[in-house]
């Protein structure tokens, strides 16, 4: 069981060596999952629309998450402790900028720099001491304090991570609150062992409401009509994505093609309708 978690095997800068970095960055399954989680994290960041922002990517690795940020039209700066991972990112010519840094030593940026911060599958590494002089509690606090300072007022930080147990997520949340953040955990698909994803959403300044996690039932709350309820549920599959062939699915495909700069027909009232049988 325990060996399934790479953070148990040793420090991240040694675990993600050349071979592991190459493996990680060329595995299409990992790439797809990372992209999906980054998209959700960006959604939770709730950046103002139509503005390109400056984003900090903590534990950016080979820049898999950064590519999603670039596609969304933002500029990013990534920090990671594994040099081989960052070298892979340079090889892949990511458009963000990279820094070799241990997040447990703090974020090395001046106050108010970033419009938001994301971190995909990195925070759990901070909960382990890999040397006798490392204290996870202190390192977490130091990280959150410096992160709080480096964010612009009103900005959010979203961390996707894999907590080992509830004590661990509690420790992380506790240290974040100590550093001045408000917020908490947003759990998508809490009842599914496979699709379950934990996001720590941290907010600076002013009381804000924590966004809701996605669940199997989301999107079908206020449908009064029984006939329509089945329709509404059918248009979304278990992961909350529109099911194949539905109008929402077609729209998302079109949006994607548009972003890639392809020539896409505008939708009409006939889009996604079944042909009438004569």
């Amino acid at each position: 069981m325990a060996s399934k978690r790479p953070e148990h095997l040793g420090p991240p800068e040694l675990f993600y060596d050349e071979t592991e970095s190459q493996k990680y960055s060329s595995n299409s399954h990992i790439i797809a999952i990372q992209a999906e989680m980054t998209e959700r994290a960006m959604e939770l960041l709730a950046l103002p629309e139509d503005n390109s922002a400056l984003i900090l990517d903590v534990g950016c690795g080979s820049g898999l998450s950064g590519e999603v940020v670039t596609d969304a039209g933002h500029m990013w700066i990534g920090m990671d402790i594994s040099l081989p991972m960052l070298n892979v990112a340079v090889e892949r010519e990511v458009s963000g900028d990279l820094i070799l840094k241990d997040m447990g030593h703090g974020v090395p940026f001046k106050a108010g720099t970033f419009d938001g911060a994301i971190s995909i599958s990195a925070l759990q590494w901070l909960c382990h001491a890999n040397a006798s002089d490392q204290n996870p509690r202190k390192r977490l606090l130091r990280f959150f304090q410096s992160l709080y300072a480096s964010l612009a007022r009103g900005a959010r930080a979203v961390f996707q991570f894999y907590p080992e147990n509830s004590d661990q997520s509690e420790l992380i949340t506790q240290q974040a609150v100590k550093a001045g953040f408000s917020g908490g955990l947003v759990i998508d698909f809490p009842n599914s062992s496979k699709a379950k994803k934990v996001f720590l959403v941290l907010m600076t300044g002013g009381p804000q409401q924590l966004p809701k996690g996605l669940s199997e039932e989301s999107g079908s709350h206020h449908v009064a009509n029984a006939g329509r309820r089945t329709f509404a549920m059918a248009s979304r599959d278990k992961k909350g994505k529109p099911s194949k062939g539905s109008r929402a699915w077609i729209e998302s495909k079109k949006e994607r093609a548009r972003k890639q700069g392809k020539d896409v027909k505008e939708s009409s009232k006939y889009t996604g309708r079944k042909r009438r049988r004569l």
Partner: protein, 125 residues
Amino acid sequence: MKLLTHNFLSSKFLKGVTTGYPLLLVATQKEVKEHEFNADFVKRMLPKVDYTACRTAAESIGEAEGLPTEVGDMWEENEDFLRKLHRVLLEVEVTEGELQCPESGRKFPIKNGIPNMLANEDEVE
């Protein structure tokens, strides 16, 4: 490393350093990579960027040509200025060189375009 990143970097995380800004920049190798010009982004960044530090850094690597000593009043409309700033902030990259903390003198090497900001546990607070 882009100069935009340099403009935001600080060595304040070191023990005994109070501001740690701006870091002194030495480049032994640089590169100009094309980056899509986005006027809105440059406009949004300029108020955050310390222009004097940016110009000094650009000067130290010989890329300050055409950059005025001070930001004029009408900079938002001045596309020529925005393009020059865009070039300096986002296109010029230092691939080999070093950064130095202005207070403690601690050096951070830049290799393959990546500044190494690692420190020992006893160097940080």
